[in-house]
């Protein structure tokens, strides 16, 4: 489904910002495979400074893609762009027959108010939002689904605990239970295995693989290269722009990784307007 012409074919130079990055996935022989997400020369960022710069490419339906890169490479920014929390500064992200609400998004848990007095059960129940909406009742069927989802992540008996009493790993398990309930076609996980023990990571990884087998599209930002190599068929190596994008083995070469590491993290306050946007060339 991916056409990696050769090792160099799926890598892009780290050139000036006028340089257009057109590499990514090309669907070759498998015509049936639909593009679920398309990045069209998309630039995402804050206060005009790009955090993801001129990204072009597409993600096929059912793909299992690792997004890898140093801190500040734009992984979380890219995800925020996909779920619509962040509007692109330029370019666009196109969904193939997909509503934004078909995306389950698991952000880094720092964004949750853990001091809020709500039980694990009630918190997890929000995963059924698409089914219940703002007013729908949680009937016995829904309640059973919630209990099952909690059991599936190993949190049996935690239903009535306030979320503030959970450990970091338990918190992450609960968030996975909510993703389970969302029953979404596209699942986006932002550093899901950070700061959790090996057992929890293994359990949750099993869930991710199950989602992949169920033909859901999975995107995950990850730092553990061994884990990526062992489990994720495709990888996007991001360092503001795409350094490499393709089959994991070819994307994660030592050469590519070292180039990604050289990315400068700081925004340049004196940076000029990006030439590619000022005078966009025809594709």
């Amino acid at each position: 489904m991916v056409d990696p012409a050769d090792g160099a074919g799926c890598t892009v130079g780290n050139g000036a910002c006028g340089h257009r990055r057109t590499l990514g996935h090309r669907i070759a022989d498998d015509r049936a495979m639909v593009a679920q997400l398309q990045f069209r020369d998309v630039t995402l960022g804050y206060e005009r400074h790009p955090a993801v710069h001129h990204l072009t490419g597409e993600i096929a339906s059912g793909a299992m893609l690792a997004v890898v890169g140093p801190n500040g490479a734009g992984k979380s920014t890219l995800f925020r762009g996909i779920v619509g929390i962040l509007k692109p500064l330029a370019g666009s992200i196109v969904f193939g027959g997909l509503d934004v609400r078909d995306i389950a998004y698991l952000p880094q848990s720092a964004e949750i108010d853990r001091s809020f007095p709500i039980s694990v059960f009630d918190f997890t129940s929000s995963g059924l939002w698409r089914a219940t909406g703002a007013f729908g009742r949680l009937g016995s069927r829904e309640c059973r689904r919630i209990v099952e989802a909690l059991a599936a992540v190993g949190l049996n008996g935690f239903e009535n605990r306030p979320i503030g009493t959970l450990s970091g790993g338990q918190m992450q398990r609960m968030l996975f239970a909510r993703v389970l309930l969302q029953d979404a076609g596209v699942i986006i996980l932002d550093e899901p295995f950070n700061a959790i023990d090996a057992k929890t990571a293994a359990d949750l990884l099993a869930l991710v693989r199950r989602w992949h087998e169920e033909k859901r599209t999975v995107l995950a930002a990850l730092h553990d290269m061994d884990l990526v190599r062992a489990n994720f068929p495709e990888t996007l190596l991001l360092a503001r722009g795409a350094v490499a994008w393709g089959p994991t083995a070819q994307a994660l070469t030592a050469d590519n990784l070292s180039r990604a590491r050289q990315m400068c993290e700081a925004f340049d306050d004196g940076a000029a307007a990006c030439a590619a946007q000022v005078s966009p060339r025809a594709a």
Binding site: G84, R101, Y105, D113, F116, P117, W129
Partner: protein
């Protein structure tokens, strides 16, 4: 004896019955709103908004004297204007809600005090600043009751989005567009209840039955439903006890209600089940698992 102390004041005097009805309506609406204010770290925001209502009520007063309708409408308009403006400013800019609100409320408080002191008498000023729960006429009572009813109904409608917006706003944004409307509706309810508090307790203590019961609840429950229940009960208890105390002593009614709530708060801080200060002095044995 007990009857004389606890029931007779309400059986014998109509103004006490009216005051009790007002206190009950106020408690039912304000306490749940206070819990959400506290959980969103907006307790002082409520206080700020209470002051923001003043110029509207004062302009109503300026135009038509101590007229309930004019002052209520004026207060509502001023309150909504400040709530919406600061909400919009904080959503569009980097400024946090509390700081944008602070600028708006300072301006309106200065305006309100200016208007009342230029036009009114000292009695008027006292009425505006401290309210008068012992002089509830039919109209005022109706306004308070209607506002409390509206509060409970709207809160029931926006409850789920509001809770999720508090605990995980990013998640809510990815599944629903209900977050912003729920937030604005909530700010509207804050204003409605501040107008209630304004009529009963005056502008300076309008937030009393919002914030204190919420603070009390935090020490007794770890669950939002439980907290709302406890907040409502303690607000009701404060209202009733405060009126009784005021009746048997020379303490004015409004402050008496707030002082009772403060006393319950102090006890809760010391002995509360959830992290009360003195709890560690009476340790229960730890559990097996």
């Amino acid at each position: 004896m007990v009857y004389d102390a606890l029931v007779a004041p309400f059986a014998d005097f109509e103004f006490m019955r009216r005051a009790l009805a007002a206190a009950i309506a106020l408690a039912l609406g304000a306490a749940p709103i206070g819990v959400f204010l506290m959980l969103r770290g907006m307790s002082l925001v409520g206080d700020a908004m209470a002051h923001a209502i003043l110029p509207g009520a004062a302009i109503g007063f300026l135009l038509s004297g101590l007229n309930l309708f004019a002052m209520t409408v004026g207060g509502l308009i001023a309150g909504f204007a400040v709530a919406i403006l600061s909400g919009v400013v904080s959503r569009l800019t980097e400024l946090k809600e509390d700081s944008s609100l602070a600028t708006f409320y300072l301006a309106s408080l200065a305006l309100g005090v200016t208007i009342v002191s230029v036009k009114g008498t000292n009695i008027d000023l006292l009425h505006v600043l401290f309210g008068n729960i012992l002089a509830m006429d039919n109209q005022t009572l109706m306004v308070i009751a209607i506002n409390a009813t509206v509060t409970l109904v709207v809160l029931a409608v926006i409850y789920r989005p509001l809770v999720i917006e508090c605990v995980d706003p990013v998640f809510l944004r990815t599944v629903s567009r209900a977050g912003a409307p729920a937030h604005l509706a909530f700010l509207g309810l804050v204003v409605v209840n501040l107008v209630n508090g304004f009529h009963a307790m005056g502008t300076l203590m309008a937030v009393g039955l919002m914030i204190l019961p919420a603070g009390i609840a935090r020490f007794w429950s770890r669950d939002i439903t439980g907290m709302i229940m406890i907040a409502v009960v303690s607000a009701l208890l404060s209202g009733y006890t405060g009126l009784i105390l005021s009746f048997h002593s020379k303490v004015p009614a409004g402050p008496a209600v707030i002082l009772v709530a403060s006393a319950i708060y102090a006890l809760s801080v010391l002995f509360g089940r959830v992290r009360g200060i003195l709890r560690p002095l009476f340790p229960a044995p730890h559990l097996e698992a």
